[in-house]
């Protein structure tokens, strides 16, 4: 599998560390942490995921990927999304 890094270009999957579902947002108060930590999307289909380009530019990126076909639809820096 080749992951497109927005900075480095297309790279082999083994350069990356996988974190998973990019949708949970860290709660601000006391509530919602169980859901944040333990309930992640496990979609059969396109997911937004966090990957870390550990052996490249050291950026967290958000990849759109189909979990049934492994097709990758695109990627952006995770930080840009959060802004």
């Amino acid at each position: 599998m080749r992951i497109p890094c927005p900075y480095c270009g297309e790279r082999d999957v083994q350069e990356f560390v996988y974190r998973g579902d990019a949708s949970p947002v860290r709660p601000l108060g006391e509530d919602g942490f169980y859901e944040y930590v333990y309930l992640r999307r496990n979609s059969a289909g396109v997911m937004r995921e966090h990957w870390y380009h550990a052996q490249g530019c050291r950026n967290w990126i958000e990849v759109q990927r189909n979990t049934q076909t492994h097709e990758i639809l695109g990627s952006v820096f995770a930080r840009r999304v959060a802004l």
């Binding site: 599998m1 080749r2 930590v37 950026n59 995770a78 959060a82």
Partner: protein, 985 residues
């Protein structure tokens, strides 16, 4: 000799000697082991898997199920090697396998007598009584009988290499379709890779008697190959099998670099793994001829018709003296004509179809009997001697023949095309499965696309190449395929010749018969996957290349379905078996993973260090001196000398991270349970980090050099993980913060200098610094210059002694430690290793990796008070869950043996002295132990239920996997200097 006097693509000027089962034979350069054995009239090559039936060569390609040998001897022995794909070389040694005592006389051939019982799945129905007998008797017998070749049991002595390639077009297979596509794409300037498993490009062109552009096809193939080799934009990989396609248009291939050589040159790899990223691919892997299912079809002497033709035309070898051809397809007639042209007697052509083939007259003229609407229903003889022909009128004729060519039609080799999940679909035109949709970027061409005739193959290759070329915005010229002689390949399938006389094999290697498939269907194994698993159809080394479809057709027949309804199985990589060594390449044995060495590694070697693995790092474990009897004696000396004088320890492997920026302190406050925004400049502070789930993640010290410049250390084990965690925090969680972070683990060589004399030593080394208690108190830090370069000193202690950590740029690490020992002579300075470090930290009750095991909370480790209530931090909320604050959670204690001579061991469990040794009484476990030379006895750290409240209690360590129980006293985890006088001294 069955070698024809002329013809073939062998070099008769280069004879080669080889042995099979110790007998010496001769072949020629260009032969395969199979062609050379046939040329020497060797018909019996191996024994089948279950019934140990005698078997010969059945095919001329990598689909061969029968002619498997062990190639080579000693550590280079390679079991289960297809004789049909082995290039002959001088001195080749091959032996037959799965037979005892010899190939000709195999005791386990007795299995055939029991074959009425040994039907598909018989073992599920028996061998159950007595229960204990399975492992002791039945299974060992089955295991010994099963299996084929024997592994050498010695480390593979050869090298394996790898390469990575990127191209616009990958062409899988160098037959006519692949060749023409490569020519067109190459001429158009595309970056092309063409790979073929054979040693020559050409595929079927090398085996059949065709003409292209007025030239013999083999000659055309040779010229095409030469043109491709001359193009700089084209890479030709022969002896290279593309074995699979993976996500991202990534293809795996294995190149056999030296397998065809008597001996590899020094450094030459045996094989090479290619990982190829190809924007487009053409699957030109050809088609495999189907055997026919009839009685005795496994006898040596029965071959696929295409194999018979290949041996004749390519190798100049006749596989028999009198042939019978059994065909359901036009291609069988071509083989009959090939035989006749080579001067071989064709006794009969048996065509199951009733229409008269155009060649019928010609073969009759040559003396062959032609049977239409007929079938062979038995082959007789240990190796084929005669065939029984069941004629259209129902009568039977026995005809002498020692070679039976069977032509059952063709199955496109679409395996790679379904690697990524594309379901093959049934074609009523060619009566086989074809690819309906291929993976992204891939197109099947030629026979692999069901274009079985030569002209179709060439035109489909040309068309596909032209399309690819156009997609890349280039133009191909010419775009048309060359003229060629043609060979219609129409087939009317005959899936099965019913016979009760002899076994009719479907899967030759695994001895799956027509009856087995009927039985499986009767027993309800009617899904093709159930059929496969119940009968083992298609699971042999050939992965069903010759058997799968016939088996599925028989299942369809037994269940009243069409083959299309019965479906087929998806092919998974590898397309052909691949040596495990080639996947590992350089990374085996000692080279499995890189070694990380600290700056003073070489110096430590000179000091007699023994090293221990810490992740990828090599760390000095202890420094034995001559005369020391045991590692314990060494470690005791290192600890005692350090506690009484001064010792130095390389702690460079700790993770180090620069955290800079206006919001660095804000980020650190969120990462750690305790506060860092209040840390004064020039000071260090111990910090504890939780995971978001509230359990302890890591610990270490953090230093503030400037308002916005912090320096974080992590444990050695977690260095990478924490860097990643910090990047997540600053990039994803809080991207609005102005924080930069980078790993500087490798920049600094760091040495812990510990012991009451550490200050004196360092003061002498670094006279410009004020290291006095007043000038440089506990937890103070300073930046200075050493040899003109930036350096740092920290007043930190892991050992519990007066201690400092000094960091210098790693390229100066070696110089620094040598300088320290130059000065240290006067102080009896000792180097100490991780073991002494461990002893001292246990004496001080500092938690480390064994305690920070991902299962403990801050409270468990006695650090609940560090959890700041003034701020949010990662893990704060989840750490409050009931299960993580439960009163009976194990918490950190110290333990001492009641009998001070007893030796504690980590991993023992804690139970009340009088409690029964059952899980219900388990109260915790020992995490770390050491022999404390300071106290003179064994000590340990442990996690014990409600441990903090149980100091003074007497319990026991239960350690059944290593020996007797030991009674211990629960105590405070800090054994030495609990008031911390020394560190502040």
């Amino acid at each position: 000799m069955s070698r024809l006097p002329t013809g073939g693509l062998i070099d008769r000027a280069k004879p080669l000697n080889f042995t099979f089962d110790g007998n010496v034979y001769r072949g020629f350069d260009g032969d395969t082991l199979a062609s050379a054995l046939i040329a020497n009239d060797v018909k019996l090559i191996g024994r089948s898997f279950k019934y140990h039936r005698p078997r010969g060569v059945m095919t001329a390609g990598s689909e061969e199920p029968n002619a498997l040998v062990t190639l080579g001897v000693g550590a280079r022995a390679e079991p289960n090697t297809r004789a049909t794909t082995v290039s002959l070389f001088e001195g080749l040694e091959a032996v037959s396998q799965n037979r005892w005592p010899s190939l000709a006389l195999d005791v386990l051939a007795i299995n055939q007598l029991a074959s009425p019982i040994f039907v598909a799945g018989f073992y599920y129905k028996t061998f159950m009584w007595p229960a204990k007998f399975w492992e002791k008797l039945y299974e060992p017998l089955i295991r010994r009988a099963a299996g084929l070749g024997r592994a050498s049991m010695l480390p593979d002595p050869d090298h394996y290499d790898r390469n990575h390639a990127f191209c616009e077009l990958l062409i899988i297979g160098g037959g006519p379709a692949g060749l023409i596509a490569a020519l067109l794409a190459g001429r158009a300037g595309l970056r092309v890779i063409i790979a073929d498993e054979d040693r020559l490009l050409g595929g079927r062109l090398l085996s059949e008697r065709h003409e292209i552009d007025g030239r013999p096809a083999a000659e055309w193939a040779r010229m095409a190959a030469a043109e491709l080799a001359s193009m700089p934009n084209v890479t030709v990989l022969t002896r290279t099998t593309v074995f699979g396609v993976y996500d991202g248009r990534e293809y795996g291939a294995v190149e056999r670099v030296a397998d065809h050589l008597p001996r590899a040159t020094a450094g030459q790899p045996r094989q090479r793994l290619w990982k190829i990223v190809a924007k487009r691919a053409l699957l030109a892997s050809g088609a495999i001829e189907r055997p026919l299912v009839f009685g005795g079809n496994d006898r040596p002497g029965v071959m696929t018709a295409s194999a018979v033709s290949t041996y004749l035309n390519r190798f100049g070898v006749v596989a028999g003296r009198r042939a019978a051809v059994f065909t359901t397809s036009d291609s069988g007639w071509a083989t009959a004509e090939d035989l006749i042209a080579a001067g071989v007697e064709v006794a009969a052509v048996v065509d199951s179809r009733t229409s008269r083939h155009a060649a019928a007259g010609r073969v009759q003229v040559a003396g062959a009997e032609v049977f239409l609407g007929a079938a062979i229903d038995d082959v007789r003889g240990r190796t084929a001697r005669s065939v029984d022909v069941r004629m259209a009128n129902g009568q039977s004729r026995r005809i002498a023949a020692d070679l039976v060519a069977m032509a059952g039609g063709w199955n496109p080799s679409i395996g790679i095309g379904s690697n990524l999940g594309s379901r093959p679909v049934w074609s009523d035109t060619i009566h086989s499965f074809v690819l309906d949709s291929a993976p992204a970027g891939m197109t099947a061409i030629g026979a692999a696309a069901g274009r079985l005739s030569l002209s179709e193959a060439l035109s489909s290759g040309a068309t596909a190449a032209a399309n690819v070329v156009a997609d890349f915005g280039r133009s191909a010229s010419p775009t048309a395929a060359p003229q060629c002689s043609d060979d219609p390949a129409a087939v009317t399938p005959l899936w099965h010749v019913a016979t009760r006389k002899t076994k009719a094999f479907v899967d030759f290697q695994h001895d799956v018969t027509d009856d087995d498939i009927t039985l499986a269907a009767r027993e309800g194994f009617v899904s093709i996957e159930h059929l496969k698993r119940y009968t083992t159809l298609g699971m042999a080394t050939d992965q069903g290349k010759t058997s799968q479809l016939n088996g599925h057709a028989l299942l369809a027949e037994a269940t009243g379905k069409t083959i299309a309804e019965a479906g087929t199985i998806l092919s998974r990589p590898p397309y052909l078996p691949v040596a495990i060594g080639v996947f590992a390449g350089h990374h085996r044995e000692a080279h499995f993973r890189p070694v990380r060495r600290t700056a003073s590694h070489d110096w430590a070697v000179t000091q007699g260090a023994s090293f221990v693995d810490a992740g990828q790092w090599k760390r000095a474990q202890w420094f034995a001196r001559p005369g020391e009897q045991s590692w314990l004696e060494t470690v005791n000396r290192e600890v005692t000398t350090t506690r009484n004088g001064v010792g130095i320890c390389d702690v460079s492997t700790l993770g180090k991270i620069d955290v800079h920026g206006a919001d660095a302190a804000v980020l650190l406050d969120r990462l750690y349970v305790n506060m860092f925004s209040t840390l004064p400049i020039g000071k260090a502070r111990y910090g504890l980090m939780l995971r978001e789930d509230g359990l302890v993640m890591d610990d270490g010290t953090t230093t503030r050099f400037e308002e916005h410049r912090f320096f974080v250390t992590t444990t050695t084990a977690n260095a990478g993980k924490i860097m990643q965690h910090i990047d997540y925090a600053r990039q994803v969680l809080w991207p609005d913060l102005d924080v930069q972070a980078t790993s500087v683990t490798e920049q600094w060589a760091t040495y812990a200098v510990a012991g009451p004399l550490s200050r004196t030593l360092l003061q002498k080394m670094l006279p410009d610094l004020d290291l006095s208690n007043e000038g440089f108190p506990f937890m103070a830090v300073a930046e200075f210059r050493w040899n003109g370069m930036p350096a740092r000193i920290f007043r930190l202690s892991f050992s519990g002694e007066l201690a400092f950590e000094v960091s210098v740029p790693a390229n100066l690490g070696d110089a620094f430690i040598r300088a320290a020992f130059d000065v240290g002579h006067d102080f009896d300075l000792v180097p100490y290793g991780t073991e002494a470090l461990g002893v001292m930290r246990i004496e001080k009750g500092h938690p480390a990796g064994n305690e920070l095991n991902g299962q403990t909370t801050a409270g468990d480790l006695g650090m609940a008070r560090m959890l700041s209530k003034k701020k949010d931090f990662i893990g704060r909320v989840m750490a409050q869950r009931a299960g993580l604050v439960a009163a009976d959670r194990p918490s950190l204690i110290g333990i001492k043996p009641i009998d001070r001579d007893a030796r504690l061991r980590a991993g023992g469990h804690l139970l009340a002295c009088d409690a029964a040794s059952v899980a219900a009484n388990d109260e915790g476990y020992v995490t770390s132990v050491a022999f404390s030379p300071t106290l003179g006895h064994s000590i340990g750290l442990a996690l014990l239920k409600r441990g903090a409240a149980r100091h003074g209690e007497r319990i026991r360590v239960h350690d059944p996997v290593r020996g007797a129980d030991i009674d211990i006293e629960v105590c405070d985890p800090v054994f030495v200097d609990p008031e911390g006088v020394r560190v502040r001294g």
